[in-house]
Symmetry: C2
Amino acid sequence: MTYNHPKIWVAIDCLVFGYDTFENNLKVLLFQRELEPFANDWSLIGGFVNEEEHLSDGAARVLEKFTGLKTVFLEQLHAYGNTNRDPGGRVVSILYWSLIKLDKLNREIATNHGARWFDLDKLPQPILDHKKMIDLGIEKLRQNARNYPLGFELLNTDFTLPQLKSLYDAIYGKSIDDRNFRKKILSTDLLIKTDKKDKSASRKGAFIYNFNTAKYELLRKEGFYLDLSI
Amino acid sequence: MTYNHPKIWVAIDCLVFGYDTFENNLKVLLFQRELEPFANDWSLIGGFVNEEEHLSDGAARVLEKFTGLKTVFLEQLHAYGNTNRDPGGRVVSILYWSLIKLDKLNREIATNHGARWFDLDKLPQPILDHKKMIDLGIEKLRQNARNYPLGFELLNTDFTLPQLKSLYDAIYGKSIDDRNFRKKILSTDLLIKTDKKDKSASRKGAFIYNFNTAKYELLRKEGFYLDLSI
DNA sequence: GTTTATAAACGTTAAATTAACGTTTATAAA
DNA sequence: TTTATAAACGTTAATTTAACGTTTATAAAC
């Protein structure tokens, strides 16, 4: 005991956004809390931080438990630590957020852990300050869409321009002008056009694109300014 | 004891940027640590979070102790919680940052607490991960300069355009084109020109401006995009 | 009282970008 | 052969930007 001071519980909450390429919409992962207080209410996925565990490792542990996913986008967002935020005791909670593509496997794992994917506009009332956390995440998502490339985390390797536009529509919460969107996104040198077409959504079919990974990672690091909302 | 889990020390670190309107440069407040380990080394100002204290209140307490200032810009930046970040024990530290104007009073209070203001380009090697924290703060400062109005926190009520430009020069770490800077900053409707002049820096004197507080606060909330770096 | 030095203020423009539209094409089904 | 429609491609006036050039106000030097 080197420091002489009272300690505090430290927890992790993970805000996980999933994109559904069939429904073309964004979802949030919530689970039905098992512990009192608030047993059976909907909560972000989370857990306490262990003594011998980095914060980021704790977040990764929580995420993997509920989705089976490792090595995906997972970043810290904010620390919540009001004295009265949890009636169960003084808990400082570190919020992380993650962006993933929904697929059969991670849906199944979520279900097996009492978790469910909710459409962004059909969320139940979550416990504690978790609504605030979700709102912060949505804000951050929009900020990210403006300042960093986005889509790699949320779309399949193969995707079409209409799909990418739908993702941005979902993030911005409105329908973007299709013609301007194309010109802007193509001007970034982020996309590689293939000669394959995806005909699942139209008779004509849409060309399949991939991300230019090198350029994507560069801009993810450096940031840029790209307003795709008009 | 409602939750059955080990607890962790939670601390606050405050990264305080101060702008010196005489020297026209940015400084960071560091203090000479009293506790072992690392006694006498330079550290961000900080302290442990009390059991019955909000995180933000803890940050405000630390800031006031070292500067005498309340009700200034003070925001959370990041939580640091690697298991090995402090050889004194497992400490999760919540980093806050603050922007203030340097004056005689807060300089004196800092000195009385063993703290000193260091020029951004002449920082000593700080303890633990505090260098990382400072780097994050500088990054955040530049990000802020691009996405929010800035200056109110760092300049006196009365300031001149050359002074405001010097602040942006300091943040961006380079000299901005004066003519473009004027046009861009004036186009935001953030500044109110007075008919007074400040002749301390030139024969001709520079007109004194004030911030349009209403507009400033609006844009601080909403954000905008304004690249003043060219 | 005329000149000088210089920070501060003001001005110009070619080029690039943007927002807001219009048009054509490929395809499966009718 | 026609039709419906998503996908792809195109146009342009208006605005914004980056990169410069010019004038002005003043105290100090001569």
